[in-house]
Symmetry: C2
Subunit: 484 residues, 2 copies
């Protein structure tokens, strides 16, 4: 009956000869994670979560979809990339586009004014996938945010310390963290003569400096966006500047820049930030870079981005050479930003009926790009996908019951153990399984061992075997696996 | 500029007075997890994942949505509960309804014939939510499955051992695990005179015996489903039977039951199963129960369900009393099934062009119901939501820099530590924060301590304070927190 039912169902699937014509695949821009990829993913998550916990973060979770109106008006042009659910009656829903807007909704809804939280979850964007470079339509975000009214730049500096810790511990290669401030950018635009209503669009163009050379960026500003040549040239001088606290001090004295109140506020905070970064011992990697703009609209203060100086395999081309990539229609080989974030003091207020704001600063770890790099590294290595410590095997036939008894003893003692699901598996195939899967120990049962009340314990790596009394077995395994 | 932009966006949100009229909520049937709930969730997941790993499972992940056609024809009547995505051009997609069908799709797509894997992820059903009883539209499933051709009943028995381990370790109260076999059910229907085409619908009615009394079930069979009174009475005799290996033996001798080849195959396997369960030391909780039917269509062999004998707070009413609940329109107070599963040997073949099957057996842990119970328990207790070991505080003003220096030293040593993000926080408010959050240690800095090269280390619980030399601090903290 079952079989006929299944066959009937199969036939329903649309083909008259009982075969399937439909495509066996995951949706465009998505992928399965196989056990090896999951092992890499778990390792990366552990590193990141340990860091978040070391800094005292709690964690929350929100639904994968939100009311459509919750996301409306938060992402500007990118709204077209939001996945909507079909109207099946009831509420109109959309898949979350990031974790920041749901976080702001959560704070407003629960009237929370202070929290330090992390959130690791998948988000959804109907973008053009580029999966080899870690760009998917379904991808993880790993966010850490500090919400609350505090003294300036202390939480901001801790976010940068966190980026530093995570990128150092993941050991992906040399990196640096660019910082800038939206107020400095806006002040700069103002003093360079950019009209108020062009700030955001010129800012988007500046944001492309990590992929395009200055000449192309300037052309876009002047030709496409209608900025004056003179204003563009003035911007060009500023955005080439990089430095540390010294640069902030110099710009505070700059005759033009100092005319903008906003820029001065940003620059004073930048000085303050660097003094905290010194105490946090991370100034070796942090660069104040006036070309950093970041795409998202909701930032109101400091912004930052962690980038690899070069990837392990393919060094990123020097700045001058990148223009060629773009001309060829090929994007830079650099994996780009590995972490990014900034201060967004206005977002929570958008959800509050009385507009009460909760200042926030946060960082998002670009986990898919990190997976890409780590997976490439892992390809060469042998990655274990289970944690089994001992395989219980039999040397002769008809010992299934004895194997099941022994594996039960081991499970009872909390030891990770398995048996083959065969009545009479061959000894060789059992031992081969251990070598292939990297199971460190083998507990061998035979007639003789049963008579003597012992188990032959074999170390897979060395193939050494030793008889262990049944009563001492658990202790012995614990000792040997803690040493492995 | 930023502020004006945000105000403009706010205005767009639909109200002319700048206030929001839209509802601040999560979609129907979904919820946020706050930090305390997340702490409970993490604890439950750790217990479950440890068990899965102890049994040698790998893990995989699949996208939250699948091609619509992948889910088509797999869930029978329940298909109407599937969430579809809006057609925005491109593929037609649906949110996953369970983890079993994506698992079968994954096996067929990658031509995998042997795997032992677990998968923990959210699934989506447009069902009527009953959130107080742990029934949501977005909820976690925790699945463990063994795929591959093996000797009969060995992997099946391990799945039951896993249910036993997890329900024991979670310590939710007394439980038992009902087992039955689809072949025994079908054989029973045959010998009781149920027409072939009524097997599945009568099976669905039998499945209601955990919520309805026999009289109501019989009425449904006879009045609604058109079964003969005689056939229903015969079924009634069988479905009241419960036992162990002895019952399987008795039914093998039963003059009626023994006429069905299918039933005999199921009963022999049941005997075999119980012999393995004895070796696995779990027969104390396992009951062969002929009334267990389980809703899903795809099961082909053994089926099982773990249920609480009584919940901690509200004991489930005895079987006779439950009729009243249904008559009153009130569902049983029992939280119901905490784990369930079975063998499904035909599902993978539905995805294979040549119909090649991969036999599978698995178990799904009813994690949301477990969360509900654990959260109720946790309400009374104080649950820590961070893992901070030390808070660095200052006794006087103007010591922010010294606090930041010290917390950096602790982070460098891998110690979980935090400071208040204020220049001059009050000592009392810093200490209060430690007591409220359950932070075990406080490192106090004052002018005198700095002069002496020491830190005053305070144990929050006892309020004892001791001066520790700066060079010994990390060691001392490690020692004290490992003892805490």
């Amino acid at each position: 009956e079952e079989v006929s039912k299944l066959l009937a169902l199969k036939a329903q699937l649309g083909s008259d000869d009982g075969k399937h014509q439909f495509v066996l695949k995951t949706p465009k821009g998505t992928r399965d994670y196989n056990p090896k990829q999951m092992a890499v993913r778990e390792k990366v998550f552990n590193t990141i979560v340990s860091c978040f916990k070391r800094h005292g973060a709690e964690t929350i979770d929100t639904p994968v979809f939100e009311l459509k109106e919750t996301l409306t008006g938060k992402y500007g042009e990118d709204s077209k990339l939001i996945y909507d659910l079909k109207d099946q009656g009831g509420e109109l829903l959309s898949l979350r586009y990031d974790l920041t807007v749901p976080f702001a909704r959560y704070l407003a809804m629960n009237k929370i004014t202070n929290i330090k939280r992390y959130h690791i979850a998948k988000v959804y964007r109907r973008d053009n996938p580029a999966m080899t470079r870690g760009r998917y339509r379904e991808f993880y975000q790993c966010d850490f945010d500090i919400a609350g009214k505090y003294d300036a730049m202390i939480p901001d500096a801790e976010c940068l310390r966190i980026v530093h810790e995570i990128l150092s511990e993941l050991d992906l290669g040399d990196f640096h963290i660019k910082v800038n401030d939206r107020r400095i950018l806006d002040g700069m635009f103002a003093v360079c003569g950019v009209p108020d209503d062009k700030f955001r669009t010129i800012c988007s163009t500046v944001d492309k400096l990590d992929k395009m050379c200055w000449e192309d960026v300037k052309t876009e500003m002047v030709k496409e966006k209608g900025l004056s040549e003179d204003a563009a040239n003035q911007i060009g001088q500023y955005v080439s500047m990089q430095g540390g606290m010294d640069l902030a001090e110099r710009l505070l004295q700059d005759s033009k820049m100092s005319q903008s109140k906003q820029a001065c506020a940003g620059l004073s905070d930048m000085k303050q930030l660097f003094s905290y970064l010194q105490l946090f011992q991370v100034t070796d990697k942090v660069v104040f870079d006036l070309s950093l703009a970041r795409g998202l609209d909701y930032y109101t203060g400091i912004i930052y981005e962690g980038v690899l100086t070069q990837t392990g395999a393919t060094p990123a081309p020097p700045l001058q050479a990148r223009a060629g990539d773009t001309l060829d229609g090929v994007e830079s080989v650099s994996v780009g930003s590995l972490a990014g974030g900034g201060r967004y003091d206005g977002l929570v207020g958008m959800f509050d009926a009385k507009g009460r704001t909760v200042p926030c600063v946060g960082v998002s770890i670009g986990i898919e790009r990190i997976f890409s790099i780590m997976e490439q590294k892992a390809e060469a290595e042998k990655v274990r996908t289970t944690e089994i410590q001992v395989m219980v095997v039999s040397a002769q036939k008809n010992l299934l019951e004895e194997r099941l008894k022994l594996v039960t003893e081991l499970w009872n003692a909390g030891i990770k153990a398995e048996v083959m699901y065969k009545k009479n598996p061959k000894l060789l195939s059992q031992l081969q399984h251990c070598e292939e899967s990297g199971i460190p120990l083998v507990a061998i049962l035979g007639e003789q061992e049963l008579k003597d009340g012992v188990v032959k314990l074999r170390t897979t790596a060395t193939r050494e075997e030793v008889d262990v009394s049944r009563v001492d077995l658990v202790q012995k395994i614990r000792k040997m696996t803690s040493a492995v």
